[in-house]
Symmetry: C2
Subunit: 193 residues, 2 copies
Amino acid sequence: MFDAIKTYYTRLVPQLSQPEWEALEKCLSIRQFRKGDFLVKAGQVCKYVSFINSGLARLYYSIDGKDVSTGFAQQGDYTSEYESFLTRKPAAQNIEALTEVEAIDLGYDDMQRLYKTYPAYQEFGRKISEFLFIMLNQRNTALLALTPEERYTNMIETNANLLQLVPQYMLASYIGVTPEHLSRVRRKLSAGS
Amino acid sequence: MFDAIKTYYTRLVPQLSQPEWEALEKCLSIRQFRKGDFLVKAGQVCKYVSFINSGLARLYYSIDGKDVSTGFAQQGDYTSEYESFLTRKPAAQNIEALTEVEAIDLGYDDMQRLYKTYPAYQEFGRKISEFLFIMLNQRNTALLALTPEERYTNMIETNANLLQLVPQYMLASYIGVTPEHLSRVRRKLSAGS
DNA sequence: GTTCATTCTTAACAAATATCAACGAAATCC
DNA sequence: GGATTTCGTTGATATTTGTTAAGAATGAAC
């Protein structure tokens, strides 16, 4: 049931003991989502960090009626509106299931209790936060330092599988342009090669 | 000598014991910078997290010969090219002293040793990482959801002191526009009020 | 297999912002 | 306190990207 998530934890904190793992396991619960369902709705507090056991979800802002995607979570990834989760304030972003999704949730109170009781989970929490910081920072760097065209070719190289799974207009906003403009970028790229 | 930084730590981890504090204190060292000096140079690995004991520093990318400021650290703030510090890879950003700066450094190896030895520092590291994530996420949200004008007025309200201390062209890139454009934004604002 | 909705592409036009260049003001340095 | 550099403003123009609208392609539903 929780094999995949256990692998995830032991990769970050290899010395996790059996009792520690069991304490965590007791806190985990499974939620099922259908395509189009929301794991998190903007405006509501994000109550969980969710491990994606299967399926695909996206994280996005809804601004002036337009979506701006900021990330995608696949099987084996963690996802959360982490700022909301940490601050207990309403989420600015939505998390939506792009396919059927099975998520393994860990709630805020349980997480704080694990932190208090087991130093190993402090370490896990630190490493997760560091990881999320690095991801966000890399995305920022790319948005600042690269052109839309470079960000798109980058994506082809590093996230080829997402190009298959995600509609192009979602990738467009992730890359930081309109769908129309991404279409132009693609045409230009295919002409020049 | 280390009063300010001790306050900083005990605010994040109130239960810090005397031996724990002393273990940290042994790792701290002070560096002095003159205006224009670099605390961190892009291309080199960032070796420290630095507490600003006095003065003002800025964090910025240098892209195509142009600066893009991403943050400012004042007295009482921590600063670091944190992605480089965590990953031990060359920094993408510079940290530059905008005034004389006195910084209290904590090195990577010492930090890892503190993490290993004292759970309290795991907790500190977690909270710092969470904080940095939230800061970065808020900046992202502002860049996505607000106009340059809104970001500027926001800054007036929340960071009034920085407007005094930092040249306008650095604020411009922080806000995400050219200095010329910020100048026009300001003119428009003063006309309309 | 036809219909309907969704997605992608294309083109013409519009808007926001950048670039370039010049000038004036302010601060800094001998 | 004059000279020099740095900084901020302004205007003309250029570029990038967004907007709107239409149609083509794709895929799902019946």
